[in-house]
Symmetry: C2
Subunit: 252 residues, 2 copies
Amino acid sequence: MLTISQLAATANVTVRTVRHYHHIGLLPEPERDASGYRRYGAQAAVDLIRIRTLADAGVPLARIDALLHAQPDEFDAALTDIDAALQRKIEQLTTYRRRITELAGGERLVLPPEVVALLDRMRGLGVSERRVLLERDAWILMQALDPHLVPRRIREKNAGFDDPEATRLYLACDQSVDWDPDDPRLDQLIDDLDAWETRHERDSSQAGYPKLVSARVCEASPAWQRIISALTHRAEQRHRHRPAAPNNRPDS
Amino acid sequence: MLTISQLAATANVTVRTVRHYHHIGLLPEPERDASGYRRYGAQAAVDLIRIRTLADAGVPLARIDALLHAQPDEFDAALTDIDAALQRKIEQLTTYRRRITELAGGERLVLPPEVVALLDRMRGLGVSERRVLLERDAWILMQALDPHLVPRRIREKNAGFDDPEATRLYLACDQSVDWDPDDPRLDQLIDDLDAWETRHERDSSQAGYPKLVSARVCEASPAWQRIISALTHRAEQRHRHRPAAPNNRPDS
DNA sequence: GGTTGACCCTGACCCTACGTCAGGGTTGGA
DNA sequence: TCCAACCCTGACGTAGGGTCAGGGTCAACC
């Protein structure tokens, strides 16, 4: 006959675990000896090992209890079931392993690959990392709020960077963030932007592309505040002579 | 800006999970809007997804907290560590899968293969299932109490079944369990057993082999009680004329 | 026969990572 | 105006044990 610790050792569990199984009625309480110690026979070892085999496979104890009192055919069905669950879990863990290796790599985990490629393209063109991060955040919010919009916007953005003049203006805007609002280069930039807008005003597929600007950046940059107000002013003047095209898109 | 449920959805977790992470300080509490609702930016989504990536891989939340504030080199080391743990877990689950398939097959899980082979050999020789189960229990207890004894006993047992006369006697004993204690066949059996014992008395490698009997069986079988007492009596008589060989081995 | 260390007992609280319920306020569309 | 679908806090429940407290037993050694 075995003591509780001997029994526990044969099944590779702690004494506490055995007592827990008694407590919840999963393993029957054995006879006690004269001093009140539990004394186990071989059947207890068999039962305990069967229990642990199932528990190790992730089966909840409550279900194990039911299983051990089930008909053989139910039992077999449950085993098939459990085996399938195990296999699924293994596959899950394998994909988690892949994702873990991507943790170091910034936004790769959060955004679809097309967007990641776009951000990398911006970096390659010389866009400042600060701007790229703002762009990233905008994509994340768009993804959360209106995911079906993303593919079209990606095409539009990429088309923008296919146009050399648009790209030049974008980079100039990016660099102008820290300029003094009285910097003479700003006048030239505003003229160029206005000219570009005038040329593309009807082309809704790229509508307002260089205006895609985070509100937070505007607040922080006097130079940009000047650009925005100047462009808005000129656009209004132009539209006094033409019918207004609806072109207001709130940006997050 | 995102509400809590929108944030939760982008990371594929429940709202409760997000609040839990706030509560334990894993994810910083965001600003509230006028009505007290939490409002999240894109960085929260990035953080939450990173957290879940680690949590899904089985990293405890407390450790994730430490990891996110760690130096890049520590972080990388931890990732390697976590990846190795994942791989170990996958291998574990694979072996659990194998064990699950053996659950239907009786003692295979509980005993070493040599013992299982021995029990199968007994079944093949025609030993009753009741006897085999008693034998199985004896092996389980021996395994728990004195594992290093098992290999030698296996050799002895197998040697016993290599001897046709010993095997015949064993089978006869097995069948005699339910006989009436006055059954005339018992007299013949006792004579044969006594003769065998006399012949093998000095051969310690098989000492008392047919006597290997569970105490519980003896109690339940009047026929066996007669066999035991008769053999004991005869042995004593014989030993009155010869020096006694030490041959007492308590059988669990 | 006294001590020591390894066991055994019950009962109770602690842990993680949330789930769930109660009780109530907010929002947005029909 | 109403309803469903959100949001809030606070509190308790869950599995599968770990750990501690407070005490009894057993076997060996001195």
